[in-house]
Symmetry: C2
Subunit: 178 residues, 2 copies
Amino acid sequence: MDEKLRAPLREQLVNCSLPAALEAMGERWSFMILRAAFNGLHHFEEFQSELGIARNILANRLGRLVEHGILTRDAMVKDRRKIHYQLTEKGVALLPTMLALRQWGERWETGFRASPVLVDARDRRPIGPIEVRSWDGRVLTKRDLLWALPEDVDDSGEHGRGDDADDDTATSAVRAAE
Amino acid sequence: MDEKLRAPLREQLVNCSLPAALEAMGERWSFMILRAAFNGLHHFEEFQSELGIARNILANRLGRLVEHGILTRDAMVKDRRKIHYQLTEKGVALLPTMLALRQWGERWETGFRASPVLVDARDRRPIGPIEVRSWDGRVLTKRDLLWALPEDVDDSGEHGRGDDADDDTATSAVRAAE
DNA sequence: CGTTTTCAGTTGCAACTAGCAACCTAGTTT
DNA sequence: AAACTAGGTTGCTAGTTGCAACTGAAAACG
C-alpha cells in the first residue's frame, strides 16, 4: 500500500462512520429485527414469536432502535394495548446494508437463496446483487478501487445524482489527477 | 398484509441466510477489523494499536474470522513471529456490506463523509451510493419492491450472472413493508 | 358488572461475553 | 547469552444475554 497514505490513514481510521453505524446496529439481534420489520411485522408479539428472541432483549432492542430513530413506536387507536412499530426513512435506508449482508450469507454461508425473495415489482425478477459502483453506475471490483484522502478526491461528480447536496466537509477538492 | 403470504413467511423467516451471516460477522469488532483489513492492515499489532481493541478480544475475533474463511493466517517467511492476516475472496466479498453500513452511518449518524474515501482508481471520484437494483441495473426504491415466495419468482433473468436457480412462475406476493 | 385473555413489557437470577492488565513463549536482534 | 518483539494467553471484574415468571393496563367474554 501507498506510504503517502499510510501515516494519515492511521490517524483517520478512528474518524469513520462505521463505529457510529455499529452503535445503532451492531448488536446481535438488530439486523434480525430489522429484517422482520422489512417483512411487514409491526408488533412486539409478532417479533417475539417470529424470531424466538427473549422478551427482555426484544424490549431492549426495540427501545434502542426507536432511540436511534430507526423505528417509530405508537399505540394503536383501535386497541390501546397494541404498539405499532414502523420503519422510519432512516430505517428503510438500511435496506441495502441488510440485503448486502443477506446476499453474502447466501453466497458464502448457506449456499442457497433464502425465502422470501425480494423481487422487482415490475417483472417479479429477483433483485440484482448489491455491488460497488462508480458515480456513473459502472460496477467496480476491488482492482478498480483506491483509498484516498479527501484532498486527493475529485468531487466534481457529486452533483449529478439525487443524493443530498450538503457535502460541505472534506473540501479542498483539489483536482489531483487527470 | 396478504394472508396467503403471511403463514409461509412465518415458517421461512428462520430459513434465512441473515443469521448465518451474522454468525460470522455479528460480533461487535468484526466489521471494524474487516475495515482495517480493507485498509491494508495485516498484523496483530497493527490491528491492536489501530483499533484500540483488547488483545484477547482481537485474538479471539481474528481466530473466528479465520475459522469462517474470511481471513487467512500465515506466518511470514522473513520473520517467523509475524503473522500475516489477509482477506480471502469471501472476505473481500463483504466490501459492499461494509460500505453500505458505512455510507448509512455517514448519511444518518455522523453526517459527513469519513476518511479515507474509497474512490474509483480511474477518475478518483468517490464511489456511488450502494443501492438496490434490478437484474438489469435499474435503481429500485422501496416502492418498486415486493417480497415473493420462490414459486412466484421469475427466474428467467438469472442466466446473465453466476447465481444458481430454477423455478417456475405464478402469482402471489406482498409489497415490501408499509 | 366481574372475570378472563391479550399485549407489551418488567424483574430476578444464572450463564456467558467483553475488557483491562499482567504474564508467557517462540523467534529475532545485539 | 541477554534483551527485545510479535502474537498471543490467563485471571479477574464488569457488563450483557437469556430464560422464566411476574405485572399492569386495555380489551373481550359471560
